[in-house]
Symmetry: C2
DNA sequence: GTCATGTCGTTGACGTGTCAATCATGCGCC
DNA sequence: GGCGCATGATTGACACGTCAACGACATGAC
């Protein structure tokens, strides 16, 4: 497929550029929704649950301080706090007092949480492979990596 | 950048493949969040509002049936209904009875809605250009189009 | 010690998204 | 006309995300 000639810097995106943009963002959203739905059906977990459980599984003693966990998954504290409350209600994690700094708290992976993560992991990775990895050829996978790096650079540069 | 050799079909994604996946989905989410935040600050609209207003602006008589609008923006009816209630509360759209089919309803763009859309449009398109179009070179824009088409095909095929 | 200030984490309010249930109307069929 | 079913749209319940405000503790200056 070819592209329109580029316009001046002040112009609005061309129709082709807008199509690329819409395709990009809508496909990502659709993929995300599908993965979320499969994970939910197969394991009763959300992608947020999965992300948190993965980080805790890899942590020393299967526990992290709340702020460490927030950094590990790249979430805001408030978002994490809300999510942990829901996960704690379902018995996936547990909060414990932190004797070193009484402002803080440990987030501990429970046995139920560890089990849920193990059960979810294989079908989830299979879904990632089926819907993303296998949809692209090796060159395209490299292109994705380059593209996302470029987009992320621009995003970071303009923050 | 090079990629690992591909593994058998049953294997989990390789670390490189997982990195590509995470990069893809997280970059898309970050971009989406940034665009949403800019649109909100500059115009007081959400991306959902913008999508709805765009579809209505282009419609004959600046009005669409609820179901036509749902198709135009690719949303579930329920989602659209919730969103329209909030937009109606803010005076951006109005619902009218449909005399042809009393089950249905017209969704009508109000003058306030049209004005909000016009004000939002230029800064929003500028943001898309700055954060997406200009971050990529022309080849990469073509690659995005091809990539998303491949991903979407796979998504549709496995539905 | 105490006061100001910063950090850790939670909470409430609210916008957003999904799912299942519901309600009313249209429509074909007898 | 009346019955059954499909369709248009809304609703309620709940999960999720952001923002701003807050309470509790830590820390350094004095």
């Amino acid at each position: 497929m070819t592209h329109s000639t580029r316009q001046g810097r002040r112009r609005s995106p061309t129709p082709d550029e807008l199509r690329a943009w819409r395709g990009y963002i809508e496909t990502a959203r659709a993929l995300d929704a599908r993965l979320t739905s499969r994970l939910q059906k197969e394991s009763g977990l959300s992608t947020g649950d999965y992300t948190v459980l993965l980080a805790l599984s890899e942590a020393d003693g299967r526990r992290l301080r709340s702020s460490e966990l927030a950094d590990a998954v790249g979430w805001e504290r408030s978002r994490l706090s809300h999510h942990l409350r829901r996960m704690e209600d379902r018995g996936l994690v547990r909060r414990e007092e932190c004797a070193v700094d009484y402002r803080g708290a440990w987030v501990v992976l429970t046995d139920d949480g560890a089990h849920a993560f193990r059960s979810a992991s294989v079908p989830h990775l299979r879904a990632v492979r089926e819907l993303f990895v296998e949809a692209l050829d090796p060159d395209q996978l490299d292109q994705v990596a380059a593209l996302t790096a470029a987009l992320r650079d621009r995003l970071d540069a303009s923050r």
